[in-house]
């Protein structure tokens, strides 16, 4: 057979296969793992890592896979555990003390700026990039972004990071509520 004809035929076959894949990929489109997304929505998104996972999403994935119990999230607290238990039809557990205590008031941290030596150590441990600063320059904390996970406190060599009560509860997802946060901030400054 003419080589050009065979070339055309094989191209048509390949094209047909391509269309099959296209059709299947449209037919069987997946919008993420629904259960992981649902668990992730309950978690407080502090990305603090106190649950022994790198962030909220990995912890949500681990819960969904049945690899982790639901009581490892101190920022979510009892309320969070209850919601998770409801969603997953599990028993409500006590917060695992190994992962830290639930704080009665929501806290964020603040840098005592005159004491800061500009070592950048706190910047490296911050899971949400809420600390700005450069080497040998004074650092400061973006309160809007701070989740109060306290990971930076042990990292500071001069102990210049302190916990302060948060202007709004940490558990409110700040990404969804930036206006609310700005409003409260302004009200406090008046």
């Amino acid at each position: 057979m003419n080589p050009i004809v065979s070339l055309i035929i094989i191209s048509i076959v390949a094209l047909a296969f391509g269309f099959i894949v296209m059709w299947v990929s449209k037919k069987f489109k997946v919008e993420g793992n629904p259960i992981v997304e649902q668990i992730n929505a309950i978690l407080p998104q502090t990305q603090c890592g106190q649950c022994d996972y790198p962030g909220c999403k990995p912890y949500a994935t681990a819960i969904a896979n049945g690899e982790a119990p639901i009581n490892q999230c101190p920022p979510g607290g009892e309320e969070g555990i209850k919601k998770l238990a409801e969603l997953l039809d599990l028993e409500v557990l006590e917060l695992n003390p190994d992962n830290g205590d639930e704080k009665s008031i929501d806290m964020v941290v603040e840098i005592v700026e005159p004491d800061c030596i500009g070592c950048t150590k706190c910047i490296q441990v911050c899971p949400v990039d809420a600390i700005v600063g450069a080497a040998k320059q004074m650092h400061t904390i973006i309160l809007d972004a701070c989740t109060g996970c306290d990971l930076c406190i042990p990292a500071c060599p001069v102990d210049c990071i302190i916990s302060i009560p948060a202007p709004i509860p940490n558990t409110i997802n700040r990404i969804d509520k930036p206006q609310l946060f700005t409003l409260i901030n302004e009200a406090q400054q008046l």
């Binding site: 057979m1 065979s6 094989i10 076959v13 296969f17 894949v21 069987f28 896979n65």
Partner: protein, 192 residues
């Protein structure tokens, strides 16, 4: 019926694709580190290999032969395998997220598994009919899974074994595979 049984047993043991025919060695070495992943890879390969050997039979008999394009069989089989893997992955992702998570990473790897292409081509060479092709493909993949799981179990033990420094890692794995191959070559004497 006994013919099909012979094809199956022959593909699993006597002509084991990995240890006797040296096909599909890449996943055999690469994915055999852990028992769990070996099972996952074995299952995924079994599914894809059986399916692709059936589809390639149809492509060959009803497309390539009537058009006298048999010389394009390698190319078209590669296409068929790639499509099978891709479609399997998409459907699995949607219908069975759990199985997808077990097999997930390994599915795309099967595209370049030469055992899969080897089975498709051997089916043509041996002039197998549809049922024979399917049984041969299934047998080949069962054989693949069998040695993969056996090998991974051995390798998990090797992890904690006291091995001389110069043999650690890949050398001991290759030597082990060689000894396993000797064992499987023994099946060759059972039937001609």
């Amino acid at each position: 019926m006994s013919g099909l049984f012979f094809i199956f047993i022959s593909a699993v043991f006597i002509n084991n694709f990995v240890l006797v025919k040296f096909l599909g060695l890449c996943p055999f070495m690469g994915v055999s580190g852990k028992y769990q992943s070996a099972i996952g890879m074995g299952l995924a390969t079994t599914f894809v290999l059986t399916l692709s050997s059936i589809i390639s039979y149809f492509v060959h008999t009803y497309l390539l032969v009537p058009l006298e394009l048999e010389y394009l069989k390698t190319l078209s089989f590669i296409l068929v395998i790639a499509i099978t893997v891709q479609v399997t992955e998409l459907i699995l992702h949607k219908t069975s997220p759990l199985l997808y998570q077990v097999l997930g990473l390994f599915l795309p790897l099967i595209t370049t598994n030469c055992a899969v292409l080897g089975v498709a081509l051997l089916n043509i060479q041996q002039q197998n009919n549809l049922i024979q092709s399917a049984v041969f493909g299934f047998g080949a993949s069962v054989g693949f899974t069998l040695v993969l799981v056996l090998f991974s179990a051995i390798r998990e033990r090797l992890e904690s074994a006291d091995i001389p420094e110069s043999f650690k890692g890949t050398p001991i794995a290759l030597i082990t595979a060689g000894i396993m191959s000797i064992a499987f070559m023994g099946f060759g004497g059972m039937a001609r």
